[in-house]
Amino acid sequence: MKLFTKHHNVLPGFGPTMGYTLLYLSLVVLIPLSALVFKTAGLSWNEFLEAVAAPRVLASYKVTFGAALAAAGINAVFGVLVAWVLVRYPFPGRRLVDALVDLPFALPTAVAGITLATVYSPNGWVGKILEPRGIKVAFTPLGIIVAMTFIGLPFVVRTVQPVIEELDAEIEEAAACLGANRWQTFRRVLFPLLTPSVLTGFALAFARGVGEYGSIIFIAGNMPMVSEITPLLILTKLEQYDYQGATAIATVMLVASFIMLLVINLLQKWSRRYAE
């Protein structure tokens, strides 16, 4: 069975495996996702606009995208630092810490959510220290940033870390031989090499933050107009049987994630531009 083109290959099984792949992909991903597109297409332009541009919805975009941007920014800074330290500075327990970096990926979001809410609540381990100083984290937009920072951290570290590992020691030695000090070497030689991966990690963390739900709702307080994230708003509309509203907002989110997907793909292409 020759599905696409003549393949120069003696290995068997292309037809069945490709057929199964396309069938399963269609059933599980493509057809369900197309439901969203068709449902939206059924809305009139005015209905759509009314649903996606209502003040409460606009406020939720602001909260969601704003917090995701802030959290991705924090992760871009600290994620690079963590990656650098993990690769370059040996310290006892490094492998353990290295494994721990993936915790946000392995820990179910609901668990992360209730835990962060507890730790940062006024009585919690961290909240207890911050509260008297006038910093409220839990049940404010700040809490959303904390949750998004938690879940986004591995994206930056794991994107930047392999790039730091592959930096050739010789380029730093060359910079040093040419008279650059450490800071100059980092700023002028290393940082430009790391930039694409940092941006990719930033974009990944941002995209993850925008879609995140579980770890945020417990700490956010979910006050409409103030600390209500868009995914929660979709769920609220759904629970009120406002399918049209939920679908319209979901479409906006889906388009946003496709744009980010595109940006990330371009960034990854860009980050390979020096590759031999």
């Binding site: 696409f4 290959n9 290995l11 068997p12 099984g13 069945p16 495996t17 490709m18 792949t21 399963y24 369900p32 969203l36 600290f78 963590v82 650098w84 330290v85 370059r88 500075y89 492998r95 810490v97 290295d98 494994a99 970096v101 915790l103 946000p104 990926f105 392995a106 820990l107 179910p108 609901a110 668990v111 959510g113 209730i114 835990t115 507890t118 730790v119 794991r158 994107t159 392999p162 730093e172 040093a176 450490r182 995209a207 925008v210 879609g211 739900y213 579980g214 995914p231 979709i234 769920l235 759904l238 399918y243 679908t247 979901a250 989110m253 889906l254 496709f258 980010m260 997907l261 990854q268």
Partner: protein
């Protein structure tokens, strides 16, 4: 969109002679570790601290609660269905993609990754749009008294969707890096297609499979958002473990909530441990 799973961390070349002055190294290491402690270690510790706050007896009692046991059972069933289905898909897809060349390969890989870039709430929503009362199949299902939404099938479907890419995206780069030489050698030596797959390919991707399965399983057992949309939160019937955590927490039953959450935290720690071992072995199997 690539998630961090693909990165297989190496073990750094500690013999960099050119490095920063010791105080700088010390300060940077401290800042990084404090950041990680604050954001990762502290919450992890808090789960267990809260769970055991009222003693081991209360902890066990919370776990033995019938609704919790029902939630554990449903979660295990969900993973037992979603993981094997996605495993079969992952192996099939990676064989077709990594061992053959055809136009549109990159598009196919992007489509497989799609569920990663969709918000979990939207992943649940699409099933409501298909199976809900106002959905495509709603009237039909109602007429035949088939329950998918707010029932176990809905939870299974949503879980399969969100865990769809895990194993495939792990195996595709691994199998691509291994090339076709060994399989071709086996064919020349007279092996059949299945013999080649089971005796040559499978041993080579074994650790990649374990790695993908463990991550897929962690997500299947821990998924919250998507499942929350389709579950209907019927206690003892359509509650998975993460949903049970939410209910207990919202009822201010913190100790019980954290006791149940600690099960998931254990799962996360086991996942991280197996993942580290698998990463090490996958690296061994990657051709340079």
């Amino acid at each position: 969109m690539s998630a961090p799973t693909r990165t297989l961390t190496a073990h750094a070349n500690g013999n960099h002679r050119i490095t920063e002055p010791a105080p700088v190294r010390w300060v940077l290491t401290t800042v990084a570790l404090v950041f990680l402690a604050l954001f990762l270690a502290l919450p992890l510790a808090a789960v267990f601290s809260q769970a055991f706050e009222k003693g081991f007896g209360t902890y066990l009692l919370a776990l033995k609660e019938p609704d919790t046991l029902a939630a554990v059972k449903l979660t295990l069933i969900t993973a037992a269905v979603a993981v094997p289905l996605n495993l079969v898909f992952g192996v099939m897809a990676s064989w077709a993609i990594a061992k053959f060349s055809f136009p549109g390969k990159n598009l196919l890989i992007t489509l497989i990754d799609l569920p990663f870039s969709v918000s979990p709430i939207i992943s649940g929503l699409i099933y409501v749009l298909i199976f809900g009362r106002q959905g495509w199949l709603g009237p039909f299902l109602e007429a035949h008294d088939i329950k998918i939404l707010f029932a176990v099938p809905g939870i299974l479907l949503a879980t399969i969707f969100v865990t769809f890419p895990f194993i495939a995206r792990e195996l595709i780069p691994l199998m691509e890096s291994q090339g076709r030489d060994e399989e071709e050698a086996a064919m020349v030596l007279g092996a059949s297609g299945l013999q080649t797959f089971f005796r040559i390919t499978l041993p080579n991707i074994k650790w990649g499979i374990i790695y993908g399965v463990i991550l897929c399983n962690a997500r299947a057992m821990g998924e919250f958002g998507a499942v929350s949309v389709v579950s209907g939160h019927i206690r003892g019937i359509t509650n998975t473990v993460p949903l049970q955590v939410e209910i207990l927490y919202n009822e201010y039953n913190y100790t019980a909530a954290f006791a149940v959450a600690s099960l998931l935290a254990f799962l996360a720690l086991i996942t991280l441990a197996v993942k580290s071992v698998a990463e090490w072995n996958v690296r061994e199997n990657m051709e340079p």
